[in-house]
């Protein structure tokens, strides 16, 4: 199972929105993913625990693993494109 970190600046605010939308999508499509809600500074030193990151904020260069921009989940604009990228990342 792929492990995905869902991040924002606080680990409480916008990542909650991203989490709930990802969860709904995963359930609808019968995907198997392990999601962890966190904030970027908290996962910077344990990036190897995750396959990729879904982040609502811009990540610093110290993040080396693949990162998807979760902004479409917050604005509902470009959501389909985001989910296509998300599924592609799961298959990698």
């Amino acid at each position: 199972m792929k492990r995905v970190a869902v991040c924002c600046g606080t680990g409480a605010a916008t990542s909650t929105i991203a989490m709930s939308k990802l969860k709904a999508y995963i359930q609808e499509n019968g995907l198997k993913v392990h999601l962890t809600q966190s904030r970027i500074p908290d996962i910077t030193n344990r990036q190897s625990d995750f396959d990729f990151i879904v982040s609502t904020i811009a990540v610093p260069p110290s993040i080396k693993i693949k990162t998807l921009n979760a902004l479409p989940l917050l604005t509902n604009m470009g959501k389909d494109k985001f989910f296509a990228e998300f599924e592609a990342a799961l298959k990698e």
């Binding site: 924002c8 409480a12 605010a13 709930s20 908290d42 982040s55």
Partner: protein
């Protein structure tokens, strides 16, 4: 009146779910969804209270011991924004903040006085906060409601003003931050940037955020920050090894658990804010609107994080040095990024400038937080929150230290006329922006 009192006596964790449920029905969410949303908000509210009690029982005595040892006067504990928010929504004025905020937003959109559609309903707690404090200070329910109303207008106007900077610097298209902690500092940063640019030598200093963040990396981790703060306070309190280590792990737990509890509350509000934004979008299909989001989108920027880390020890130092300050900064040390994030585009990510501006802002802010502490404490008592035994009261940097809090508290003292005047000035500003944009569009059309 008696019935109303009985309803209020149910407590915020019963009242809030009922209000959310009814509000959800008004917005045409399914009854089941609205019910679950309300209940989840109530659960989140209780979760926050439990963690605050842990904070009280661990940090309270330590703060008291520290105060006795140093003879310093930091007896007001900064309980942080999650508690401040929960307290604000819990008062009878604060409970109305979401319907008021949404109503004001829709009216201003209709008249073209704002371009921001605030879908981030949770952050209306800032308007609930000032409204609640004015209500506590004056005991005038109407004045509290008016304060909340004026504050929501002010947030929207500031959001429109900052939106171009947000797009240019952070790269978020058509997104604005109607966030009452972050936006007022934008007005503070503009004159300061002019001043900085006029100082010879200083104006050429460059500061690279990545280098600073890499050096302090591990301190940015929530749990580690909590541990270090707890250990430091334990040592200052004169605790033995056992006491210091216990306090360290307890404060680390608080720092980690508090956002989790808030996240539950957010989860409950989510279907409601979704429904609200759907409704508004279907009513204004052809309007050019910014989507109003949480400023949390900006706080992950390296310049914001690096400056915030530097500001943590500075804030603690300021708390000790500033005469008359009684607030012991704690939980909101982690929220400093929100106070500075909209100054960052103005200073173009220059960490030296951001830290200097932040130092001034927080220095003044601590005095505001000291002044606001009795009102915040009173509000906390009315919603039944526990607070530290050793502490004389509670406060928070967010929004206790924010300039708008001072503005509304001073205005509240002079009653309806002063608060109303702020409202009129804000509306005048909104008209000015509307006309300016119209002229801009017209002149572009002529070319």
């Amino acid at each position: 009146m008696e019935f109303l009192q009985k309803v209020v006596d149910l407590g915020a964790f019963v009242l809030l779910p009922i209000i959310i449920f009814l509000f959800g029905l008004v917005l045409r969410t399914k009854p089941g969804t609205a019910f679950r949303a309300g209940l989840t908000v109530g659960i989140g509210f209780i979760g926050i209270n439990v963690i605050i009690q842990l904070l009280s029982s661990s940090l309270g005595p330590a703060a008291q011991a520290m105060v006795q040892r140093f003879g310093s006067n930091l007896s007001v504990i900064d309980v942080g924004w999650p508690a401040a928010a929960a307290i604000s929504f819990g008062t009878s004025v604060g409970a109305l903040a979401i319907p008021i905020g949404l109503g004001v937003n829709i009216i201003l959109l209709i008249f073209g006085l704002t371009k921001t559609l605030n879908v981030d309903l949770w952050n209306l707690w800032h308007a609930a906060f000032t409204g609640s404090l004015v209500f506590m200070m004056t005991n005038d329910f109407g004045l509290g409601v008016l304060t909340t109303l004026v504050h929501t207008i002010l947030i929207l106007v500031l959001s429109d003003l900052t939106a171009p900077h947000v797009e240019k610097y952070f790269g978020y298209p058509k997104i604005a931050f109607p966030h009452a902690t972050a936006t007022p500092y934008y007005l503070f940063a503009i004159p300061l940037e002019k001043l900085f640019n006029s100082i010879p030598g200083f104006r050429n200093l460059k500061a690279d955020p990545e280098a600073i963040q890499n050096r302090l990396g591990v301190f940015g981790e929530t749990a580690v920050l909590g541990l270090i703060l707890g250990v430091m306070i334990g040592i200052l309190a004169g605790y033995d090894l056992k006491g210091v280590s216990q306090l360290g792990v307890q404060t680390a737990a608080v720092m980690m658990l508090l956002p989790r509890m808030v996240s539950i509350l957010m989860e409950g509000l989510l279907p409601i804010s979704e429904a609200a934004s759907e409704l508004v979008k279907s009513k204004f299909p052809h309007r050019d609107v910014y989507i109003g989001m949480d400023a949390a989108l900006a706080v992950g920027h390296p310049a914001v994080i690096a400056s915030s880390l530097l500001l943590i020890p500075i804030t603690l130092g300021l708390a000790v040095l500033i005469p008359g300050n009684t607030v012991l900064p704690f939980a909101d040390l982690a929220t400093i990024p929100f106070m500075i994030c909209l100054m960052v585009p103005i200073f173009r990510g220059n960490v030296i400038r951001i830290v200097l501006a932040g130092t001034i802002a927080i220095g003044v802010g601590l005095m505001i937080a000291t002044y606001a502490a009795p009102m915040i404490t009173a509000a906390a008592k009315t919603v039944g929150f526990q607070f530290p035994d050793g502490a004389s009261g509670i406060s928070s940097l967010v929004d206790g230290a924010v300039p708008t809090t001072a503005l509304f508290l001073f205005a509240g003292k002079y009653g309806y006329i002063a608060v109303g005047l702020i409202g009129l000035l804000t509306l005048a500003m909104a008209f000015y922006i509307k006309n300016r944009d119209k002229k801009l569009v017209a002149s572009q059309g002529n070319e």
